[in-house]
């Protein structure tokens, strides 16, 4: 695998590609694909080409903590330009314990070597959340080292940290209530280095490579939203980019997964679609080499790119429905209120009756005598 090959770092990308027999047209095509991958408008292609001419090959260290490897599975399905041929060839992936051939002490030695050689320069990618400094470190260790120590050590010499996946970005499923391992996100721990969150469970493969491509191309991190997510991919909601949006606007909704509306491809809001509150690129970049995406396949968006999606109520419950048992509260409080109102009113009536019973009629003559 060429992934771990050491290449001379001084040559620009265009030159390296030309040496590999890639023509200028091939390079321009690569730039067009890269623009598409970075979700930049095609008008940016000349700028991308100019930047890529000078691009250097950064060292990348990938740490996996409390995760399911879904993010790595997603990354390896990135299709454009094919991950094996281009992206990983353009970065030097020096440590990734799932993808690398080396194991055990050799693997850890490769990581330490890369950290020493590229101190202050390397990109640190993290997938998975990790037990926080106050949690029991034994919940997750690699080679006997706690996730927390490994992260903090690696962050120290990193140029930037990219948190891949909702676990690394926001805590994710390991942090779901009651959060038994005390899982926290990378952003919770890393305060003195730039952190980019590429959320999603898993993230769209093209978004992972797109962020890498952006760093590779321009030598800096992309513009971020308030959750530190790249605006190019997370700037617009699923709902705003959904091809089913016209049905939402017309008020045409699928009510079940197999009614006429569902078959006609109507809006999935009533089936619990979290598209309106979810910001991700699924609607345009799609999955499986651009084949389709959940809503196109007829399934509502789960909102997996948003913080707390794991604890935000049922996946199949509409967004406008409260997460708690509000109808129980309504019923119980209504009953208590009714009883209280009835008791107060009955007491008042009772008092009125009592007073009526002891009422002493007064005549006009008696009143006049008193005055």
């Amino acid at each position: 695998m060429r992934v771990f090959e050491k290449n001379p770092l001084e040559k620009g990308l265009a030159e390296r590609l030309r040496e590999h027999g890639v023509s200028r047209r091939g390079f321009l095509k690569f730039c067009a694909a890269t623009a598409s991958m970075m979700a930049l408008p095609p008008a940016m292609i000349p700028a991308i080409a100019a930047a890529l001419e000078r691009a250097r090959r950064p060292s990348v260290i990938w740490l996996s903590f409390q995760e399911c490897t879904g993010c790595t599975e997603s990354l390896t399905r990135s299709h454009a330009p094919t991950v094996e041929d281009l992206i990983l060839d353009l970065i030097s992936l020096d440590y990734h314990h799932t993808l690398q051939a080396a194991a055990g002490e050799a693997a850890e030695a490769a990581r330490e070597q890369a950290m020493r050689d590229n101190h202050g320069q390397y990109l640190l990618i993290v997938d998975g959340s990790l037990p926080g400094p106050d949690a029991n470190p034994g919940y997750s260790t690699i080679a006997g080292v706690s996730n927390y120590s490994m992260l903090m050590e690696a962050v120290e010499g990193a140029a930037a940290v990219i948190a891949v996946g909702t676990c690394a970005a926001f805590g994710g499923l390991p942090a779901a209530a009651p959060n038994p391992t005390g899982a926290v996100s990378v952003m919770d721990l890393v305060k003195d280095k730039p952190v980019v969150n590429v959320s999603g469970c898993p993230p769209v493969p093209m978004v992972i490579t797109g962020v890498l491509a952006h760093f590779l191309t321009f030598g800096r991190l992309p513009e971020l939203d308030e959750y530190h997510r790249p605006l190019a991919f997370f700037g617009q909601s699923i709902h705003d980019r959904c091809y089913r949006r016209p049905f939402y606007d017309k008020g045409l909704f699928a009510e079940t997964f197999d009614d006429a509306g569902a078959r006609a491809g109507w809006c999935l809001y009533r089936l619990g679609c979290k598209g309106p509150s979810t910001y991700n690129a699924c609607a345009t970049m799609r999955w499986n080499a651009g084949t389709s995406w959940p809503i196109e396949a007829g399934h509502p968006c789960l909102g997996c790119a948003e913080p707390r999606f794991w604890d935000a109520g049922g996946f199949y419950v509409p967004l406008s429905v409260p997460t708690g048992p509000a109808s129980d509260y309504l019923l119980a409080a209504g009953a208590v209120g009714a009883v209280a109102g009835a008791v107060v009113a009955t007491k008042a009536r009772g008092r009125a009756k009592e007073e009526a019973a002891v009422r002493q009629p007064v005549t006009v003559e008696e009143l006049e005598q008193k005055l």
Binding site: D188, D225, E226, Y227, S237, H239, D240, Y248, D249, K250, G251, F253, Y269, R270, P276, S277, Y279, E306, P307, R308, D311, A312, G313, V317, P318, L319, S320, V321, P322, T323, G324, P325, A326, S327, Y329, L330, L331, A332, A333, G334, A335, V336, G337, A338, V339, A340, G341, A342, V344, A345, T346, A348, R349
Partner: protein
């Protein structure tokens, strides 16, 4: 971590439970109090029935007679306009129907979103007009209390936040939706203790009036 999604989940969870509890407790207590207390005993001889005149007044007081219309056309037209707009938006917007279904188990067909959107816009304009009228009309200005302005503000913020959320004018959306839900919760909590109670008591009061007219044998 305090962020828009946390805020949304707070408003959709604990705060909503709180609001619904205060609302149900207050409103049920007040309505039961009204119904159990009933009216003062009337010892005079009844000159007519109560039920039909009561119902008739519920209707006649809702539709302004020509005299009232001539004297205060603005009140009648704009009042009707925004009340209707509010009810249509509340009861026929699909996400609201989904919410009501989850609470009460009742459901009915909704209106297309652009229709609700238009109605909401008209309601907002009408609400602003009522405030301007209240501030510029000499008599209305004198009889307006702080509570009137509080109620107007709550209604306006509720409709406005919904309009902003639907049209995605505030970003990110979880913040916009959370703000709208928060407005609704304040509205629900305040409802039983202000003149907003009329949402539930208006027809009871009109029926009592009509029933009293009927008993006295005057036109209801």
């Amino acid at each position: 971590m305090s962020d828009p999604m946390d805020f949304l989940l707070l408003t959709k969870g604990p705060l909503f439970n709180l609001a619904v509890t205060v609302f149900a407790l207050g409103m049920a207590a007040r309505i039961l109090e009204i119904l159990v207390n009933g009216r003062r005993p009337n010892y005079s001889e009844a000159r007519g029935g109560q039920w039909l005149p009561g119902l008739r007044t519920v209707l006649t007081r809702s539709v302004a007679d020509p005299g009232t219309f001539k004297r205060a056309p603005f009140n009648v037209v704009v009042g009707w306009l925004w009340h209707l707009g509010f009810i249509v938006t509340l009861l026929f917007f699909i996400p609201h129907i989904a919410l009501i279904k989850s609470l009460l188990g009742l459901s009915w067909p909704g209106l297309p979103n652009p229709v609700v959107d238009l109605v909401t816009a008209v309601t907002l304009v009408a609400l602003v007009a009522t405030l301007v009228h209240r501030r510029t009309h000499r008599v209305k200005r004198r009889i307006s209390t702080p509570e009137d302005y509080l109620v107007w503000t709550l209604v306006f913020l509720l409709v406005l936040s919904g309009y902003l959320a639907y049209n995605r004018i505030i970003n990110p959306y979880p913040l916009a939706l959370g703000l709208h839900i928060l407005c609704a919760e304040v509205f629900l909590i305040v409802l039983p203790f202000t003149k907003l109670t009329h949402i539930f008591t208006v027809f009871i009061a009109r029926w009592y009036n009509g029933a009293s007219f009927g008993r006295r044998g005057v036109e209801s």
